[in-house]
Symmetry: C2
Subunit: 144 residues, 2 copies
DNA sequence: GAAGATTGAGAGCTCAATCTTC
DNA sequence: GAAGATTGAGCTCTCAATCTTC
């Protein structure tokens, strides 16, 4: 769990960073299943797509760079959760395919994630959630 | 800039993650100065401490593991921003000492950070900031 | 033995360069 | 040449093991 602990003092950004660190609630639950957030995210996209996806598309849906997916799938593959297969329609392309073990891991991971999120949700009122999205939207506007 | 882009869809955690990604505002400004958030954080702690700090203390103030600081100081050292010195009082200990270039980098970096934060602040009302800290506090409570 | 720091291995991320196939 | 994927180099971070000094 990397999670830039070093930056935890950027005055008001500290708030945002602290908020982000609740990710660790989910992270630790997933860790007991041998999963991580990036791994579960990949399995989720794969599952959503029916089990198979060219690496490039997976990268898009994960909103990250292709080389990142190459390595993520490497790890997933050595975990036995995914395998690479040839793409019949284009020999340049490689398909990431979820395995039976991958589906099981996905199911358990998704449940753990739902539960952790429910706990987080429970701590906030509807109004809190609304305010949070509003604030985030304002902040996002600066970013551009 | 690592910044776990892959996890950007954990339903409501997506909000928090999006918020955290405003860090990139600061990150890119620092990048033009050859700095990063962790590097600037280390220089800041050093500056606060009068220019010198045993690596272990630096790790504490940075709220991270010692081995992380070892490597961070390695990079800072090859940037010429910090040097390692012997600790006269304890031969086990090594001192990280900020250099003249390090002080200059700190000054520029701190200014860039202040400006970026001011821009972020400007986007929020006082009430927004208050609400945000409140929400973060609630979330933090779950984390335990 | 305990406290400093470092090293080794590995997860997660990025960019630039490369290789194959279209 | 452009689109797939991969590789190489590097940043940030963690944990476990090691080495030196107390």
């Amino acid at each position: 769990m990397p999670e830039s602990s070093v930056s935890c003092r950027t005055s008001f950004l500290a708030l945002i960073h602290a908020a982000a660190s609740v990710e660790s609630v989910i992270e630790s639950r997933l860790a007991t299943l041998g999963l991580s957030i990036p791994k579960l995210a990949a399995l989720t996209r794969l599952q959503e797509a029916g089990g198979t996806l060219p690496l490039g598309h997976l990268a898009e849906r994960l909103a990250c760079v292709k080389s990142n997916v190459t390595q993520l799938v490497d790890r997933l593959e050595s975990d036995g959760l995914v395998i690479r297969a040839a793409d019949p329609s284009d020999r340049r392309s490689r398909l990431a395919a979820i395995t039976a073990a991958g589906r099981r891991a996905y199911a358990e991971g998704a449940r753990a994630q739902r539960e952790a999120e429910a706990a987080l949700f429970a701590a906030l009122s509807e109004q809190d959630v609304a305010r949070l999205s509003e604030i985030v939207a304002k902040l996002e506007r600066v970013r551009a």
